[in-house]
């Protein structure tokens, strides 16, 4: 295989890894934000819940920022088109996301009504981004209306209502929210004590259950809905331009082709279910540490299930299927993919090492006294 094709495939996998890292780390914090008003009935309880992820939310959020940056660099045309086509929801996502850092830092620095306001901000900034995140996957699987002019400028062919009010996308959105609630609840159990522990436990169990049901419904839906497939062989080594080089058809059930060709891929949805059930059972058995890893595996299973059924499509176009974005035609140049791979190989182990160290240093249960004693706590 050509080096460029190898790099393209590596970066397609890394895209999945990034989206998974984002879902696991940010999703957990979002879950805590969504659950804040539920697990904490008093102000002190809410502060305990916030300080459980207090030292980590900022580092975790970088997965989100890195996701944006890496898609920008590795899949410039995908970044350029998807963020613009989904403008209205992207801006909503952004509005909800930017409340969160401010809410963490400001919430506990003034009086009661001030705090109550920020607690609502936590709910919005936890739930909305996770729904948008899942709904984006749903919309992409259904295909999006766009085409390009000869210069490479995209043009939108579909009203934003089409992807906002879309039952399949909503199922995906709620599923992603449920999974984040499961992970957030697990984290609260890990470092929280009663009564937070108990409330988080029931929320997490409910979240995992809903996620598993919606994952099953979504799977059946995908098997029957319109997918996209090449009608002529495509050169994976093609220059990365969506303007020429592909002929694509819309076919019902096309998203199952990869599973039919490579039955081993069924391991991915299986992993998703095992992860969700594992998370559920381990939380029921009050073992949140094991449950956390099961929840992370659930995300791996879910995201790679989507990736495996769509590969090599990334964002198909319903109005001009030949200009659908794929791994082959929306990716960066060989030179930049190579350099970024080098940086990723050097820095990812370092990131994992110091993030783990940070969690290790801050290990243990968070207590009310330790918060009121520390002038820096949230």
């Amino acid at each position: 295989m050509e080096l460029y094709v190898v790099l393209k495939v590596i970066w397609a996998v890394l895209l999945g890894v990034l989206l998974t890292g984002l879902a696991v780390m940010v999703g957990m914090d979002m879950g805590v934000g969504t659950l804040l008003r539920f697990v904490g009935k008093t102000d002190k309880e809410r502060r305990v819940a916030l300080n459980i992820i207090g030292p980590h939310w900022d580092g975790n959020q970088v997965w989100f920022i890195l996701g944006g940056g890496a898609i920008f660099a590795a899949f410039p045309t995908l970044y350029a088109t998807s963020f613009s086509v989904f403008y209205v929801v992207m801006i909503l996502l952004l509005f909800s996301m930017i409340m969160r850092p401010v809410a963490f830092e400001y919430r506990s620095k003034a009086g009661n009504s001030w705090r109550a306001t920020w607690d609502w901000a936590f709910l919005i900034s936890g739930a909305v981004p996770m729904i948008v995140y899942g709904a984006a996957f749903g919309n992409v699987m259904e295909g999006v209306g766009f085409h390009y002019s000869w210069t490479g400028q995209y043009f939108q062919d579909e009203s934003f209502l089409g992807y906002l009010l879309n039952p399949f996308a909503l199922i995906c959105g709620v599923m992603s929210l449920s999974l984040s609630i499961a992970q957030g609840g697990t984290m609260l159990m890990l470092r929280g004590e009663e009564p937070i522990f108990g409330r988080a436990r029931s929320a997490a169990i409910g979240g995992a259950l809903v996620a598993a049901v919606l994952f099953a419904i979504g799977g059946v839906w995908v098997a029957h809905m319109n997918g996209f497939a090449f009608t002529a062989p495509v050169d994976p080594n093609m220059p990365a331009s969506p303007l020429t080089g592909q002929t694509v058809a819309v076919q019902a059930g096309a998203w199952m082709h990869n599973y039919q060709s490579y039955p081993i891929l069924w391991a991915l949805p299986a992993l998703g279910f095992v992860g969700m059930l594992g998370n559920l059972l381990m939380n029921a058995a009050r073992k949140p540490a094991v449950a956390w890893w099961a929840g992370a595996l659930a995300w791996v299973g879910v995201i790679f299930t989507v990736g495996a059924s769509m590969f090599p499509f990334l964002m198909p176009s319903t109005t001009n299927p030949n200009q659908s974005l794929t791994v082959w035609n929306s990716i960066g140049s060989q030179y930049s993919l190579g350099w970024m791979l080098l940086f990723a190989l050097v820095f990812t182990p370092a990131i994992i090492a110091y993030t783990s160290w940070c969690f290790y240093v801050m290990r243990g249960k968070v207590k009310v006294e330790s918060i009121t004693d520390d002038s820096h706590s949230y």
């Binding site: 920022i65 890195l66 890496a70 930017i98 963490f104 620095k109 400028q153 820095f347 110091y354 520390d374």
Partner: protein, 541 residues
């Protein structure tokens, strides 16, 4: 084919400018204060004196209030390229996105992970370990700035990439050229050190407030000393780097430097290039292409810009005329490129290659062509289109001229302020100079202003380009309906106003309150500029 709507481009520019300038209210303070706090903690670890730990805690608290909004509004920036500048992202994402991705991997992860430990790890880490964490946070925030400014340096002076007709975008060709571009280097140092000045003046100003009101004096006098020394060197360095950037603009962005200096005619239009005046004051008129009420200092302009005695600096009018042939070439280049895109014709490719370096000027002409279509340019309408496009090749002179001057005058003011502050602090005579202390206090917002005007100079001066010489801003924007832009602009305005109100409320509250563990009663009846300290207010605990 749908057309690019000029009002959408203008609204996208407005949104990007507002969100970027807003983001940059908080960034410089982060860049500077992290290093200043790290210095304080270093003194604590070396000397073991508790007062320095208290200083570290107190300034870190104010820093945290600021940092939160910096992070939040930074998210907007990462998204806005994709949401509002789709064509730009597609056209240069391969090279421009790379430093942004590396920024995440190398710098932002480091800064954000360690800042958690910096705030929460005091009781869980040994002193040297905590000090290391603080230093890594400081380093991380500045490395972050490094990669962002490498990306911006590419927009100012595109190095390390070339256009590829097969993918219709600029592709990355040299990592070293991108990273070691002169523009990126000078920009990074100038911006980072401008942050040092901002952080130093913030600490010095609030310390002055405590000295004036006779509170927290042990903390205030020490903080003042450190900040004054930190600031005096930084402010001198910032001016030096500003000069280096000006010279770079002269070499690679002639229209920007001419606009900065309000130079309509070539500098040798005077008796000689050497005699050309540097304008202290003028009212540039963009429509008439001339200045009113000029006050200049002769014999300064040429050595200042060219670092030589008698080299002529081209004026805006002749720069416009020089663009004419490039526009014609650019039209040929783009028409050939469109042809090549359709049939991969070798002759079309050869034509394109011949005029490739002027293709950006073809994009500029597209805006003025009938139906924004270059193929509809005929010998009959060609001259009018080229003449109109020539006018588009220079930036707005009034804005560039004055934003540069405000930044520069402020820069020199900081050097003087810090010099006096250092002198009197070293002699321990601060209390004899309340005027200096008041000046320091009231100057807290000025470095932020200088930073903002610096960015306006850099970005407004680069117009009409988003990537100098290659891609005009007009072509870079996403093709949104106006309604989308109204929706997002209103949302940003509401959210960002709420944020700044909350930030100022907390900042004033905690600055008035002072360090918590060392609360001294305030001297009754002292006139304070922030109102009365509220020591009874413990609601944050």
């Amino acid at each position: 084919m749908s057309l690019i709507d000029p009002s959408v481009v203008e609204l996208s520019r407005l949104q990007f400018a507002l969100t970027a300038l807003y983001h940059f209210i908080f960034v410089p303070l982060t860049l500077g204060m992290t290093f200043l706090i790290a210095s304080m903690e270093t003194v604590y670890v070396i000397t073991g004196k508790e007062i320095y730990k208290e200083m570290t805690h107190f300034w870190a608290k104010l820093f945290g209030i600021n940092f939160a909004i910096g992070v939040a509004t930074g998210l907007t920036m990462e998204f806005e390229f994709g949401t509002n500048w789709s064509m730009y992202s597609h056209f240069v994402g391969d090279v421009f996105g790379t430093p942004l991705a590396i920024e995440g991997l190398m710098a932002f992860f480091m800064e954000s992970t360690f800042i958690g430990l910096m705030f929460f790890g005091w009781d869980r880490l040994s002193r040297p370990a905590h000090l290391a964490v603080t230093w890594l946070t400081a380093l991380g925030s500045n490395l972050s700035a490094l990669w962002i400014l490498i990306a911006n340096g590419f927009m100012q002076n595109p190095q390390g990439a070339s256009f590829d007709p097969d993918t219709m975008r600029m592709q990355f060709t040299s990592f070293l050229n991108l990273v070691f571009s002169q523009d990126a280097q000078a920009k990074f140092v100038h911006t980072s050190i401008a942050g040092f000045v901002t952080g130093a003046l913030f600490v010095m100003g609030i310390s002055s407030f405590y000295i004036l009101t006779n509170r927290h004096k042990a903390l205030a006098a020490r903080s003042f000393r450190m900040a004054a020394l930190f600031g005096v060197i930084s402010s001198m360095a910032v001016v030096t780097l500003g000069d280096a950037l000006g010279r770079l603009d002269y070499l690679v962005q002639p229209t920007k430097i001419a606009a900065i200096e309000g130079l309509w005619q070539d500098s040798n239009a005077h008796s000689s290039a050497a005699a050309a005046p540097w304008l202290v004051f003028a009212l540039p008129d963009d429509a008439k292409q001339t200045n009113y009420a000029e006050i200049g200092v002769p014999y300064v302009l040429t050595p200042l810009i060219t670092h030589s005695e008698n080299t002529a600096v081209p004026g805006l009018i002749s720069l416009e005329q020089q663009a004419g042939p490039r526009i014609l070439n650019g039209i040929k280049a783009l028409n050939a490129l469109q042809q090549y895109g359709q049939d991969h014709d070798a002759a079309a490719l050869a034509t394109f290659k011949q005029y490739e370096n002027d293709m950006g000027y073809g994009f500029l002409a597209q805006k003025n062509a009938p139906n924004q279509d270059l193929t509809q340019i005929t010998p009959a309408n060609q001259d009018a289109i080229v003449a109109q496009t020539e006018k588009d090749t220079i930036p707005n002179v009034f804005v560039t001229f004055w934003s540069f001057r405000i930044m520069m005058f402020l820069g020199f003011y900081f050097v003087i302020l810090f010099a006096f502050a250092s002198y009197y602090s070293l002699r321990n005579e601060l209390e004899k100079h309340p005027l200096l202390l008041k000046a320091a206090l009231w100057s807290i917002p000025l470095p932020v202003m200088a930073c903002e005007f610096g960015w306006i100079t850099a970005e407004a001066g680069r117009q009409p380009w988003s990537v100098y010489g290659w891609l005009p801003t007009f072509q870079s924007a996403s093709s949104h309906p106006v309604g989308y832009m109204v929706f997002s602009l209103i949302g940003f305005a509401l959210l960002y106003s709420a944020f700044i109100a909350a930030e100022l409320y907390l900042m004033f509250k905690f600055a008035r309150l002072g360090p918590q563990h060392h609360a001294e009663p305030s001297v009754g009846g002292t006139a304070t500029m922030f109102g009365k300290p509220q020591l009874a207010d413990k609601s944050w605990q």
